[in-house]
Subunit: 380 residues, 2 copies
Amino acid sequence: MKFTITRATFIKSLNDVSRAISTKTTIPILTNLKLDLTDTALILTGSDADISIESKIDATSETNDLQVQSTGSITLPARFFSEIVKRMPEKTMTVDVQDNFQTVITSGQSEFKINGLDANNYPRLPEIAAENPLTVPADVLRQLIAQTVIAVSTQETRPILTGVHIQIQNGQLIAVATDSHRLAQRVLELPAAAGADYDVIIPGKSLIELGRTLTDEIETVEIRFADNQVLFIAGNTLFYSRLLEGNYPDTSRLIPTSSTTTIEFDAPTLLSAIGRASLLSHESANNVVRLNLNADQQTATIYGNSPDVGNVEEALQFTNLTGDNLEISFNPDYMKDALQGVGQTTIELAFTAPLRPFTLVPSEDKTHFIQLITPVRTFS
Amino acid sequence: MKFTITRATFIKSLNDVSRAISTKTTIPILTNLKLDLTDTALILTGSDADISIESKIDATSETNDLQVQSTGSITLPARFFSEIVKRMPEKTMTVDVQDNFQTVITSGQSEFKINGLDANNYPRLPEIAAENPLTVPADVLRQLIAQTVIAVSTQETRPILTGVHIQIQNGQLIAVATDSHRLAQRVLELPAAAGADYDVIIPGKSLIELGRTLTDEIETVEIRFADNQVLFIAGNTLFYSRLLEGNYPDTSRLIPTSSTTTIEFDAPTLLSAIGRASLLSHESANNVVRLNLNADQQTATIYGNSPDVGNVEEALQFTNLTGDNLEISFNPDYMKDALQGVGQTTIELAFTAPLRPFTLVPSEDKTHFIQLITPVRTFS
């Protein structure tokens, strides 16, 4: 195997597949990057067994400037090879696999010889057929990921909760995540032509990495499901993730359908105030802020307290406070994550009782994105 | 004590003095920031006992927008107070010290109450008289610091080598640092009016922090020496550092005065090549690269090697290679630091023998900045 390529082209694909390569793997060859060269394309592959990413560089595209001298495959230590490629002196470089998988990388006067490993020992990726693929706009998928992964559990005690539950049914895609303290649910309306129904759980970590590969250049993403894998096709990049096995809890009954107190806030303004209140709650044993809503006097006040450091009190700006008076305590970090998920908009909070979960929805569209936060019992 | 101030003005001074405040101090009050308010100025002080920084905000300057309601002093927990000040909602804020050192900080609707400590318990800064002050351009001082601190020892086995030796004599300022593997010496010509002679050792860490406070706005720095302290005055900021006690080794005799082989390189080009060679040397037990200079054939070649990963060989671009042929091995990280210190220029390397220190000087001025690197014995 021997090829010459523009370094910038190669580095772009290398960065994409490197996301999947971990130095902490129990399978040594997965610390390597795989290169497969045919007459028509160079394919880079990286994998950590959970996620695998393939990036294809087309030999027929003139902008890629890929010259194939001889075809073949090799795996090379990913971290070193990346460092070498990025530091080479000239615009192009040549990679030449010689005897015993020794690989020579040259650029200008610089010549590296590094020890590769046989590509035949690299795990094979699953083949996922193109039955009933689903195509979604990349920016919508990126937003859906950002809005749900915040509520994924980071604890391995209930592994199923480390994933995002994706249901495709009745022309909708419903994505839900919960760590049992909070929940985020995002609904996408699918085009009428959408195919079969699916019910899968995708690891949150996979979706976070997928989100990072969805750059602005990518317009649409094709999603294909198999028994225990999902494949996302974005431009020349193939992103594979294993699925989590098991049954996701039924979350639909958790979402309250009525409320006794509602209030609207400008999300960025509330986010700033919560940030200030959390400065003190972060210093106390129970990381909790207190929100007092007085519909009679039309006031909303937030309180943070740390016995060692001091306390904070802030009268909040709001609109449309209606219903019963209420005092409720919650973890401000959950509220910060939730507010960051909605962005620059107005939100509605709806409460039923001081110890019942409350909801947070964008005022302009209350059905496609809903977040739930469970309050904390306090004795102050 | 009570004042109202534009937050942006306060934050600038706060950032300056915060450099001196460490959370890892054995003197609890030093985790606090001190505020002293008179009718004419607000003075902020931070200290970690080694370094103390004072920043003065003038009440008579209209741009500072400082309104003094009542004078006094307080110390406040630095990290919290900074976070609070930076997150406040309005352009201005009011700080009001009440009973028992409790301090109320308000901005818009946000009101924090935090627990302060009596400013009388804060250590006093030394008074350093203005005898024989020395004034140097800030950019020259910043460069001198950057060029010498790289060679300061980070090991406490010989504490004296953790400082930079500064000698002021015969109308020159000579700054030298060495960790016994390499040495950097920078000489400044002082204006004729310069005062008394000094011989002091300033901790490298202090100079690194000082360098960070010397922003582009600052034009000159006044330096005052006392028995065990040095004071740098830069605009409204006073930067105090303790001095190291003891005798610095005589380094003048270490610098070779003759050579048998010399060669010139473009510093950034050599830096790139050394960076590549070090990718492999970093993976071997002894972090060493090998340089072969052949004056007969007019070649210069660098080699890096790691038994596990592979090797690299690169023919270097150079000018003016004269003298004996030579093969020498050295730590590439020392060379990288040295080349970063000289910047975008041409440098001359001068060698005497494979195991004798070699020198690195800018080609355009070989007397005011000289660096020494001790080679490594290898058996390859």
